[in-house]
């Protein structure tokens, strides 16, 4: 089902860009590994949805947007906010529920926000943030700026009413918005094939006469190119796009859920891991001589140190004060 990895040669002049994408994917993964560890230690509560396996999608996509573009994501959004430049300290502290977190400990894993970096959540109701992203795109158009909005959601969200209502309005009103379906094949424990009548998610776009794209969501360069086209379409032509990025989640739906079991086999999981997005890009860079193993080790070491530091920062940070309970309910 997933397209074979592209085999076009890498462009040596872009080696810096490739290495940066690799660094971002490793950063996202190491953050999630650390978060998983912290969850197991009881330092993170509630629901915690990890992104491991899907890194190529957010990394490739967000490398194609500008700092002043608006980014909306679902509750599986730790990587997305890090990619906007929010510090791993602020994000980890939010997962720990600490006052130093990016939402002051009031949002948690599912409600990460950084308005300065135009990262606008962190939304916990499946599909409900699609109209929000369309609204930000509406505002950009209303004001005559050339900003766009990009919205990430899982494939299970395409069956909810908000998806259809939003795609219709985005196409009807020619809003500069890019919808990225992160098709990791399972909505919690329900396979796409058991929840949708149409299995090629990108085909849903034709109902709204909207541009459609499909990308190998395990290939960061493919995602980057595809999203780049859609961003251009949004910015230059005020036309929305529905992108299906086919990817795979290595972990359970949330940390509270089994990694495999009734809904998928261990064998399937192991097979999917053979297409790992980090190993894939790393392998290509190594074989093309654009990266050497020592360089990678140094980079990985730095990232591991960063996550140790984020963990320690979050752990040592203060809880919100009791009086914070009643602030931020209303604006004065």
């Amino acid at each position: 089902m997933v397209q074979p990895y592209q085999t076009t040669p890498l462009d040596a002049e872009r080696a810096g860009f490739y290495r940066e994408l690799l660094r971002q994917m490793v950063q996202a993964r190491r953050f999630e590994e650390k978060a998983g560890e912290a969850y197991a230690q009881g330092k993170i509560g509630g629901f915690c949805h990890l992104y491991i396996g899907q890194e190529a999608v957010a990394v490739g996509a967000l490398a194609a947007v500008r700092e002043d573009d608006y980014v909306f994501a679902s509750y599986r959004e730790h990587a997305h906010i890090l990619l906007r430049g929010t510090s791993s300290r602020a994000v980890m502290a939010e997962l720990f529920g600490k006052r130093t977190g990016c939402s002051k400990g009031k949002g948690g894993s599912m409600h990460l926000f950084d308005v300065e970096r135009n990262f606008l959540g962190g939304h916990g109701i499946v599909g409900a943030h699609l109209p929000l992203a369309a609204g930000a795109a509406f505002a950009a158009k209303y004001r005559g700026t050339d900003q766009i909005a990009i919205c990430f959601f899982g494939e299970a969200a395409v069956n909810i009413g908000a998806f259809h209502e939003t795609l219709n309005m985005a196409a009807l009103w020619e809003l500069p918005v890019v919808f990225v379906v992160e098709n990791n094949r399972y909505g919690m424990g329900t396979a796409l094939e058991r929840s949708a009548a149409v299995w090629d998610v990108y085909r849903r776009a034709c109902s709204y006469d909207m541009a459609e794209e499909i990308a190998d969501g395990m290939d960061v360069l493919a995602v980057n190119e595809t999203v780049g086209r859609a961003v251009e379409r949004a910015r230059d032509e005020q036309a929305p796009t529905l992108i299906e990025a086919r990817t795979y989640r290595y972990m359970g739906h949330s940390m509270a859920d089994p990694i495999h079991g009734h809904y998928r086999t261990k064998e399937e999981l192991e097979q999917q891991k053979q297409k790992d997005p980090i190993e894939h890009l790393k392998g290509r860079l190594l074989s093309d001589g654009l990266l050497d193993e020592d360089e990678f080790k140094v980079m990985d070491g730095e990232i591991r140190d960063e996550m140790e530091d984020a963990f320690a920062f979050a752990d040592e940070s203060p809880d919100p004060a009791p009086e914070d309970l009643y602030t931020d309910v209303y604006v004065e």
């Binding site: 608006y70 909306f72 977190g101 990016c102 939402s103 002051k104 400990g105 009031k106 949002g107 409600h111 926000f113 950084d114 308005v115 606008l120 959540g121 962190g122 939304h123 916990g124 109701i125 409900a128 943030h129 699609l130 109209p131 929000l132 992203a133 369309a134 609204g135 930000a136 795109a137 509406f138 505002a139 950009a140 209303y142 004001r143 909005a149 009413g161 908000a162 209502e165 939003t166 219709n168 309005m169 009807l172 602030t327 931020d328 309910v329 209303y330 604006v331």
Partner: protein
């Protein structure tokens, strides 16, 4: 002072606020070309253009969310629901997105939005088109809830709601659109959260809002003329934040209270008002506080049954006679 309808008072508020602030826009079903299902937006498309008066598909959840998204990045949307009955489809956006965004973002993202439209029963529209939702929205921290009874209040409160930086649920009375009243020629606003004494009195306090204000005023006239009872009529105007001080001050004076609302009795606005009174004016009460509410049933279509389901002046008079012990006890 000009005499205008409630509908036109709302129209004036929209027109003035859109002229005042280019970030204010109106979005909803039939608000533009059709001039509004209830003509509240009459003439606005011609004056402000399709960029700022936006007709939508029938997709309440979708366009409510578009409004919230626009508010997240600083615009000031006014989202019209053709009626609040249809807004149930959008309650996820009103509650989960608009009301909670500020809090769950740690104070980063205010939502300056107004959701408005007619609520309550009209005439023989039956169960799905005849509901008063004040208590549903008033339950939610993060929302403000406004329900004006007169053209003067409707205009002044809508202007304040549009200028407010919080999400405001603005419930208009479907049966009030033709109600006439005096509205000043000069600009004015009415702060949210302030009740208004619609009639002064000394024997009993009657708390009401929206359409029930007219019902209560009729009852108060009859009480004065036929029962020798002087009723003070308090119009809450804003349900959340609730002007507890105004209610308590009146109860301290009259020592008796009846709370009237159009919505269902269970967990209704009246229950909240009674809770405040029993805590803050317990020693001032000479009788238990009674409530008059809509009948605890889905609204029937039959006009005789429908009349029985709505609060009427005679229900209010009966309750007042009980709290003043005019019927014995």
């Amino acid at each position: 002072m000009a005499t205008v309808t409630y509908r036109d008072a709302l129209n004036q508020a929209l027109r003035e606020e859109m002229a005042r602030d280019p970030d204010v826009f109106l979005m909803g079903e039939e608000v533009g070309v059709y001039q509004g299902a209830y003509k509240v937006s009459r003439g606005l498309l011609e004056e402000f253009g399709a960029r700022r008066v936006v007709d939508t598909p029938i997709a309440e959840n979708g366009f409510a969310g578009v409004g919230v998204g626009a508010a997240m990045v600083g615009l000031r949307p006014v989202i019209e629901f053709m009626t609040w009955n249809f807004a149930l489809l959008a309650i996820d956006q009103v509650v989960n997105s608009a009301a909670k965004m500020l809090y769950m973002s740690g104070g980063q993202i205010p939502i300056p939005i107004v959701f408005r439209g007619p609520g309550g029963a009209a005439l023989q529209l039956a169960a799905q088109h005849s509901q008063a939702f004040e208590s549903w929205y008033a339950h939610v921290p993060g929302l403000k809830v406004v329900a004006p009874a007169t053209p003067y209040d409707a205009k002044g409160l809508l202007k304040s709601a549009i200028r407010d930086n919080n999400p405001v649920v603005f419930l208009e009375g479907e049966m009030l659109y033709n109600a006439k009243g005096e509205v000043p020629d000069e600009e004015y606003t009415i702060p949210l959260g302030e009740a208004d004494v619609k009639r002064e009195g000394s024997d009993v306090t009657i708390v009401c809002h929206s359409k029930t204000v007219a019902v209560v005023q009729k009852a108060a006239e009859q009480l004065a003329a036929e029962h020798d009872v002087s009723a003070e009529v308090i119009d809450l105007r804003t349900i959340r934040p609730l002007d507890v001080a105004a209610v308590v001050a009146s109860v301290r004076k009259t020592n008796r209270c009846v709370v009237v609302e159009e919505g269902w009795p269970f967990a209704g606005i009246g229950a909240q008002v009674v809770d405040s009174i029993q805590r803050e004016a317990f020693d001032d009460l000479d009788a238990p506080v009674l409530r008059v509410a809509g009948a605890d049933v889905p609204m029937p279509y039959n006009k005789h049954l429908e009349r029985l389901a709505k609060p009427r002046p005679e229900n209010v008079i009966e309750a007042v006679r009980r709290v003043t012990y005019l019927d014995g006890d």
